[in-house]
C-alpha cells in the first residue's frame, strides 16, 4: 500500500500523557464558579444548547458557594453528604484491600467520584429509581443500605443477598430504588427510560435516574436511551459520569475529542447540562433542577459530570500501565471530599477536628461491618451459598429440566 501526496490518513486519538510523561491538563479550561446562569425549569432544549459545552460550577477552591446554581441546603444535609462520601471512600478502600487479600475475586472503587452519586441520591426522592452502572455504590450508601449487606455480596458469603450468583459490586435493592447492576454495559439506560415511561403511563410521580460511564456512551444503548427519552419526554435523568477513562482508553476514544458528552443529548433534542462532578453543591443543584423538570412533565435531562477516575478501573487492571501514576493529583477539579469539607468549614459548620473524628468513626464502622461480614464467610474460605440455590430464579417456578439438573448435581 503506497501513499500518494493526497493520501488519506487514519486519525487515532492519543491522550496528552502516557506512563513516564508528566500529567498534562494544560488544555483544560473551565468557566469560573458562579459564571453559568441558571435557566428556567421549562426552558426548551434548544435554548439550553450552550450548557452542554460549558461547566456548571458552584464551589471555588476556597470553599465558597457562588452564583445562581448555589443550592439552598441546610448545613445538616451537607454534613450528611460529606459523611456519606467519607463512608463510601472508606468502604471502597477496605473492599479494595479485601480483594487484594484474596477474600473475593473482584472489586471496583468509586474513588474520586463520590460526590456524583451521593449528591444526586440526596437530591432525589427515596423512591425514585436509579439504574446504576457498577460505580454508584454512593447511591446505595446515601440511601442507608447496610454496608454489611454490600460486603456480604462482595464476599459471596452465606448472607449475600445475591446468593453468590453475582460478581462483587453487582448489588440490587428494589426497595432502595437501586436496580440490579448488569455486567453488560449501557443496558440499564434504556431500562431507566422504560421505567420512567411506565411511571408516566401509570400517572405516578416517581422519576428514574440512569447512569453510564464516558466509555460506555459509545455503546448503542446510550443512543437508544436518548432517542426514546426524547420521543416520549420520559421523566428521567441520564447521568454520564465522565471520569476520563474507560479501562485503558481515554475519553477521546469514546468520542470526546473536541466535543463533550453532554452534546450527545443536544443532538437528540434533550436538555443537557455539563457540570463539575467534583463539586458537591453543583451536583446537588443540577440534579434537583433535572428532577424537578422531570417531575413537572418537562422531559428528560442529560447531565455530563466531569470528574476523574482516581483509582484503577477495577482490581483487574493496573493504571500505571497506560497513564501517568500521579494523574489524579494534578486533576484541575480536585477532590470532592476536600472541596465540600472546605465549604462546610468556611460556613463555620465543620472543622478539621470534626472531619478527622468523622473519618475515624466511619472507618471504624466499616471495619466492624467487615468483621461481621467475614464472620459469615468469604469467597476465599468457601462459605458460599448452597449450590442447590443455583437453580432457583431462572424461572418463577422451576421447570422439570432444572429439577433434573439439580438432582444430577446431587445437591
Amino acid at each position: 500500500m503506497s501513499r500518494t501526496s493526497n493520501a488519506l490518513d487514519l486519525h487515532v486519538p492519543a491522550p496528552h500523557a502516557r506512563p513516564g510523561d508528566k500529567p498534562d491538563f494544560s488544555g483544560w479550561s473551565f468557566p469560573e464558579p458562579g459564571e453559568t446562569p441558571k435557566p428556567e425549569l421549562d426552558a426548551s432544549a434548544a435554548e439550553l444548547r450552550d450548557f452542554a459545552y460549558g461547566l456548571i460550577r458552584v464551589l471555588d477552591f476556597d470553599g465558597n458557594a457562588i452564583g445562581p446554581w448555589a443550592p439552598s441546603i441546610a448545613p445538616e444535609a451537607l454534613r450528611r453528604g460529606l459523611k456519606y462520601m467519607l463512608l463510601t471512600r472508606a468502604f471502597d478502600d477496605r473492599m479494595y484491600r479485601a480483594q487484594r487479600q484474596g477474600k473475593t475475586s473482584f472489586y471496583m472503587q468509586s474513588f474520586g467520584e463520590e460526590a456524583i452519586s451521593v449528591a444526586q441520591a440526596l437530591a432525589l426522592n427515596s423512591d425514585d429509581m436509579c439504574f446504576p452502572s457498577y460505580r454508584q455504590q454512593g447511591v446505595l450508601i446515601a440511601r442507608d443500605y447496610p454496608i454489611f449487606d454490600m460486603m456480604c455480596q462482595i464476599y459471596s458469603n452465606a448472607r449475600d443477598p445475591m446468593r453468590g450468583r453475582q460478581l462483587p459490586v453487582m448489588y440490587s435493592s428494589k426497595k432502595d430504588g437501586f436496580f440490579t447492576v448488569s455486567g453488560n454495559l449501557a443496558t440499564q439506560v434504556p431500562q431507566a427510560v422504560g421505567w420512567a415511561m411506565a411511571s408516566a403511563i401509570a400517572g405516578d410521580t416517581k422519576i428514574a435516574s440512569g447512569w453510564i460511564g464516558d466509555g460506555s456512551t459509545a455503546e448503542s444503548d446510550f443512543h437508544t436511551a436518548l432517542t426514546f427519552a426524547h420521543v416520549y419526554r420520559a421523566p428521567v435523568i441520564l447521568n454520564v459520569v465522565n471520569n476520563q477513562w474507560a479501562i485503558s482508553s481515554f475519553q477521546a476514544i469514546a468520542g470526546g475529542e473536541s466535543t463533550t458528552f453532554a452534546a450527545r443529548g443536544v443532538g437528540c433534542g434533550i436538555a443537557s447540562l455539563r457540570v463539575d462532578g467534583n463539586d458537591f453543591l453543583a451536583v446537588y443543584a443540577a440534579s434537583r433542577w433535572a428532577a424537578e423538570r422531570a417531575r413537572g412533565n418537562l422531559g428528560p435531562t442529560l447531565i455530563e459530570w466531569v470528574s476523574y477516575r482516581a483509582g484503577a478501573h477495577s482490581t483487574s487492571d493496573d493504571p500505571s500501565k497506560y497513564r501517568p501514576a500521579d494523574d489524579w493529583q494534578r486533576f484541575p477539579l480536585g477532590d470532592p471530599i476536600v472541596r465540600l469539607k472546605a465549604h462546610l468549614i468556611g460556613l463555620g459548620e465543620w472543622s478539621e477536628a470534626q472531619h478527622e473524628q468523622a473519618r475515624q468513626e466511619l472507618e471504624a464502622e466499616v471495619a466492624a461491618a467487615q468483621k461481621e461480614a467475614e464472620s459469615h464467610g468469604t469467597l476465599l474460605d468457601g462459605h458460599i451459598p448452597s449450590p442447590a440455590t443455583m437453580f432457583d430464579d431462572v424461572f418463577e417456578r422451576m421447570p422439570w429440566h432444572l429439577r433434573l439438573q439439580r438432582q444430577q448435581l446431587g445437591v
Binding site: T187, V193, G194, I201, F395, E396, H401
Partner: protein, 350 residues
C-alpha cells in the same frame, strides 16, 4: 387436539377468527382486564402493525397504552424491561423475527437474566411477539425462524402457536406469565392453515374448527404440547406451520403418524414426547429453521436420551437448508409435505 372442553364456558362464544384476529383479541382482552398491560412496537400504534395485529387498540385504549416506537429493537426490549421492573406487563412487537438481533443483548443479557441476577428482586414479566417463518416471498430478512437461539438462553420461554385458538390462549398465558416469553407467530398461518402446498388455493381459518375462537378470556397452558393428530406408527415432533405440513404428509403417505404440536418450545412438555416415541418407536422432527444447531438438534438429543432403548430407527430431522432463506427459490427451501413424507417413509423403513 386437546379436548375443546378444556376451554371453560366463561371464555364466551366461539366466533370465526383468523390468527391475526385471535391475537388481537388476546391483546384486547388482556388490556381490558389489566391496565398494566401495554402494547408497543414499530408501526403498532396508529397503523395497527404491519400485519394489523394491533389494529384498533390505540383508538380503544389511548396512545399511552398502545403506541408506535422508534425503529430500535434494543430500545423496544430495553424499555419493556424497565416497564416490567416498574410493574407493568409490556407486550412488545418486533416487526419480523429477523430483526430481533439488534435487541439480542437486551433479550439475552437482561430480560432473561433479571430474575436470576437479582434473586427475584426484579423480574421481566414481558412478552415479545414476533412474526416468523417463510412462505410469503419475504426473502432472507422476512422469513427467518430463530427459535433455536432463544431456546439456548436460560430464563426465556419460547412459544409458537399453530392455530387461532391456541394463539389467543397462549398469548394470554404469555402476558400473564411472570417470566419473559418469546412469542413467535408463524406469519404464513396468519390468514389460514397452510399445509405446504403453496400452489393450491389458500384455505381461510373460517373453514376450520381451530378458527372458531372464544371471544372472552381463556388461557392455553404453557409447557403443554398438544397431540394434533393421533397416530401409532411414528411420532412427528413439530410446531408452528410445520404442524400442518406434517399432518398433510401423514395423510399423503398414508403413514399413521402421531403429530405432536409442541406449542411451548422451551420449557417443553417432555412427557408428551417421550410417551409418544416410546409407543411408536420412531421419530421425525420437523422445523422450518436451518438445520445445524436448530431446535431439532435439541429435540433429537432429548429423544435419544429418553427413548434410546425404544427407538427402532434413527431419528430423522426435516428442516430448512443451511443457507439464508432465498427469495425466489422459496419452495425449494421450505420443507414441504414431500420432504416430510420422504422422512416418514425412511423412518418406517429403517
Amino acid at each position: 387436539m386437546d379436548d375443546p372442553n378444556a376451554i371453560p364456558a366463561t371464555a364466551g362464544n366461539a366466533v370465526p377468527m383468523t390468527m391475526i384476529q385471535a391475537l388481537r383479541s388476546a391483546l384486547d382482552v388482556s388490556m381490558a382486564r389489566d391496565d398494566k398491560v401495554v402494547v408497543f412496537g414499530e408501526d403498532v400504534g396508529y397503523f395497527g402493525g404491519v400485519f394489523r395485529v394491533t389494529e384498533g387498540l390505540q383508538a380503544k385504549y389511548g396512545p399511552s397504552r398502545c403506541f408506535d416506537t422508534p425503529i430500535n429493537e434494543s430500545g423496544i426490549v430495553g424499555i419493556a424491561v424497565g416497564m416490567g421492573a416498574y410493574g407493568l406487563r409490556p407486550v412488545a412487537e418486533i416487526q419480523f423475527a429477523d430483526y430481533f438481533y439488534p435487541g439480542a443483548d437486551q433479550i439475552i443479557s437482561e430480560a432473561a437474566r433479571l430474575r436470576y441476577r437479582s434473586v427475584g428482586d426484579f423480574t421481566a414479566p414481558i412478552t415479545i411477539r414476533m412474526p416468523c417463518g417463510g412462505g410469503i416471498y419475504g426473502g432472507q430478512t422476512h422469513s427467518q425462524s430463530p427459535e433455536a437461539l432463544f431456546t439456548h438462553v436460560c430464563g426465556l420461554r419460547t412459544v409458537m402457536p399453530s392455530n387461532p385458538v391456541d394463539a389467543k390462549g397462549l398469548l394470554i398465558s404469555a402476558i400473564e406469565c411472570n417470566d419473559p416469553v418469546i412469542f413467535l407467530e408463524p406469519k404464513r398461518l396468519y390468514n389460514g392453515p397452510f399445509d405446504g402446498h403453496h400452489d393450491r388455493p389458500v384455505v381461510p381459518w373460517s373453514k376450520h374448527p381451530l378458527g372458531r375462537v372464544p371471544e372472552g378470556h381463556y388461557t392455553v397452558p404453557l409447557e403443554k404440547a398438544a397431540v394434533f393428530r393421533p397416530g401409532k406408527a411414528v411420532t412427528v415432533i413439530t410446531y408452528g406451520t410445520m404442524v400442518w405440513v406434517s399432518a398433510c404428509a401423514a395423510e399423503e403417505t398414508g403413514i399413521d403418524a402421531e403429530v405432536i404440536d409442541l406449542r411451548s418450545l422451551w420449557p417443553l412438555d417432555l412427557e408428551a414426547i417421550v410417551a409418544s416415541v416410546r409407543r411408536t418407536g420412531r421419530c421425525v422432527i420437523v422445523h422450518e429453521a436451518t438445520r445445524t444447531s436448530g431446535f431439532g438438534a435439541e429435540l433429537t438429543a432429548l429423544v435419544q436420551e429418553h427413548c434410546f432403548h425404544w427407538l427402532e430407527a434413527p431419528i430423522e430431522r426435516v428442516t430448512g437448508w443451511d443457507t439464508p432463506y432465498p427469495h425466489a427459490q422459496e419452495w425449494d427451501y421450505f420443507p414441504g409435505p414431500a420432504r416430510v413424507g420422504a422422512a416418514l417413509k425412511r423412518a418406517m423403513e429403517a
